[in-house]
């Protein structure tokens, strides 16, 4: 992991009555795709708005690309797609990108070429000269992504970038995001689409009621516990005594069961136990937890 490009310490935002973000400490390394997830109203957008400078933190500190948040100069290297994307809809897509490039201090000579590139990237070349008010919602989101990308930022914040996109659009945006990472860029992604995050993120943090309740690399979070799914016949009550000693049986369904094991070494031991006891092993499958399972687990777990 490279050096940290996002670093927050006890970052807190209290609205009139509501604590939207509560002492959030995060560190995101360079070249990462970082997924930020949590239930509605958890504080995801508020967190991004604080980093991007829309909302002033109540307390705590944060830095982006090594400079404290609010530094205007650093913003030249930052791109942002707001959650409620809404653009100057009396402009054409092309004009909007021109203004965004100009606001990002992009040299005039390089703008036309770059604008052509990003229009192509978000598949809006054909609509470039139409007014944005004639765009569909998905097209507006695409032009928003293009506006965030036009200055080729090193750090990109996308607040639910695919909420209005069709499945192909989502896939294309995933490709855009991963290609950015391949070029060493850092992407901070707010999303509810867990399967999507699971496909592309290196690290995630789960936030609930303004607090980070789980964070780490996707690999660690999803493989931290070892779950094995077994289908076997002729177990002869093995399940009730010997196997239960291995670990927690999570689910039994006819001749299949799911068991959580203490460590990897228990997998071959379990297999040989079944076979030695005369069981007929049809399937033994090490299960990776899905992000969705983890999410539901930690978010609901906190309620109990």
């Amino acid at each position: 992991m490279g050096k940290a490009v996002i670093e927050t310490k006890d970052l807190t935002k209290v609205y009139d009555r509501k604590t939207a973000c509560d002492k959030i400490c995060l560190s995101v390394g360079e070249g990462q795709i970082f997924g930020f997830l949590g239930p509605n109203g958890a504080g995801k957008s508020t967190f991004v708005k604080m980093l991007i400078g829309l909302v002033k933190p109540t307390s705590g500190m944060a830095s982006l690309l090594g400079s404290p948040i609010g530094d205007v100069f650093t913003r030249r290297r930052i791109g942002f797609l707001p959650e409620n994307f809404r653009y100057q809809d009396w402009l054409t897509g092309q004009e909007l990108l021109h203004y965004h490039a100009a606001l990002s201090h992009m040299p005039r000579e390089v703008r036309p070429k770059r604008i052509g590139e990003v229009l192509k990237l978000v598949k809006l070349e054909d609509a470039a000269n139409f007014k944005i008010k004639t765009y569909s919602k998905g097209m507006q989101q695409r032009i928003g992504i293009a506006a965030a990308l036009v200055a080729d930022p090193d750090l990109l914040f996308l607040d639910e970038p695919t909420s209005a996109l069709d499945p192909i659009g989502r896939m294309e945006v995933r490709e855009i995001i991963t290609s950015l990472r391949d070029r060493g860029k850092t992407v901070f992604l707010n999303s509810h689409l867990l399967s999507e995050l699971e496909m592309i993120c290196d690290e995630v943090a789960i936030i609930k009621d303004g607090r980070v309740i789980e964070s780490g690399t996707l690999n660690n979070l999803l493989t931290g516990k070892i779950e094995v799914e077994v289908t076997a016949g002729n177990l002869n009550g093995l399940l009730d005594n010997r196997i239960a000693d291995f670990g927690r049986v999570l689910k039994v369904d006819g001749s299949s069961f799911v068991i959580e094991l203490a460590n990897e070494e228990k997998i071959p031991t379990l297999a040989s136990l079944i076979i030695r006891s005369g069981g007929r092993l049809y399937n033994l499958n090490r299960r990776k937890r899905t992000l969705e399972e983890l999410f539901i687990d930690v978010v609901q777990g906190g309620d109990q």
Binding site: S45, K49, I52, G53, L54, V55, K56, V72, F73, T74, R75, R76, I78, F80, L81, P82, N84, F85, R86, Y87, Q88, W90, L91, E95, Y99, H100, A102, L103, S104, H105, G144, A147, A148
Partner: protein, 293 residues
């Protein structure tokens, strides 16, 4: 900052605000010009009728009557034009920050490498250029119409252009400041009320200063409302420049509340400029500090 100015311009063009304003203004000028034309004709006819009926009017009286009538219509034109530019300033800028904040249009802009101060100043500059250009053209048109139709003298009067263009800018600064803090609707109501209070206060002041009313309370009320909203006193200053300081008692009767019997002081003009700057500073301050979204 200039990019924001350019965006503000483009918005006015694309939303056809400028076109609508220009078309309606032409309409106003045509109606006003026709009015002046027929009044000039009428005055000539009346005079002829009066003379042939055996009436006699000394050259001095005749001159005075004509002068006052012409001045009255001249001022009426300036009065309406002042109202037009004032309302245009209010309506064009009333939601310039609040509506963009409400619909999220500002989110992507504020995240750009640009200071919040420059967003406000850029918008202010954009509106200022449009309003100044517009009000200068309107003012000059009215001067020229009066010159060609009534033969009104223009020397010394052109200096009032500066003051005339200052009127909308004051309202612009107030409505911009309001829109950084208030919802568009609330801001509209407040700025419009403030403007109306200023206008009414100005009229009360003139009535109070009439020789046969002579009420210091009314004059004082007018001064207080001018402090709250100095646009009206600028109008009175323009009137003073146009009509000169000669006090004809008939003026008070005919021109009445549209005239400037009670003349604003130079200090009031300086106050108006400070007032404008103060509201601009407030806009920048409030916008720089507030949360967006």
């Amino acid at each position: 900052m200039l990019i924001i100015t350019a965006l503000t311009f483009k918005e006015a063009l694309r939303k056809k605000i400028l076109i609508a304003a220009i078309v309606l203004t032409l309409l106003f000028l045509v109606v006003y010009g026709l009015g002046l034309h027929y009044i000039a004709q009428d005055m000539a006819v009346h005079k002829a009728g009066f003379m042939s009926g055996g009436g006699s009017l000394s050259a001095g009286q005749e001159q005075a009557m004509q002068e006052i009538s012409k001045r009255a219509f001249f001022l009426l034109g300036i009065y309406f034009a002042s109202s037009i530019v004032s309302l245009l300033a209010i309506f064009s800028s009333i939601g310039s920050v609040s509506s963009e904040m409400e619909n999220g249009m500002l989110h992507a802009i504020v995240a750009k490498p640009i200071r919040r101060r420059d967003i406000i100043l850029g918008k202010f500059l954009g509106y200022t250029l449009m309003l100044t250009f517009y009000s200068a053209v309107l003012f000059v048109s009215i001067l020229l119409l009066n010159h060609y139709i009534f033969g009104s003298r223009l020397d010394g009067v052109t200096g009032a252009i500066g003051l005339f263009t200052l009127q909308p800018l004051i309202l612009l600064a107030v409505s911009l400041a309001g829109s950084t803090r208030l919802s568009t609707l609330a801001n509209g109501i407040i700025v419009f009320m403030l403007y109306t209070v200023g206008v009414i206060g100005g009229m009360l002041e003139q009535v109070g200063a009439m020789p046969f009313v002579n009420s210091t309370t009314l004059v004082r009320t007018g001064i207080i409302t001018s402090l709250m909203m100095p646009v009206d006193s600028i109008y009175r200053m323009i009137v003073t420049i146009i009509t000169g300081t000669t006090q004809n008692p008939l003026d008070a009767v005919i021109i009445g509340p549209f005239g400037a019997i009670s003349q604003p002081s130079n200090a009031m003009m300086i106050y108006a400029v400070i007032y404008l700057i103060a509201f601009l500073v407030i806009s920048v301050r409030v916008f720089s500090r507030r949360d967006i979204g």
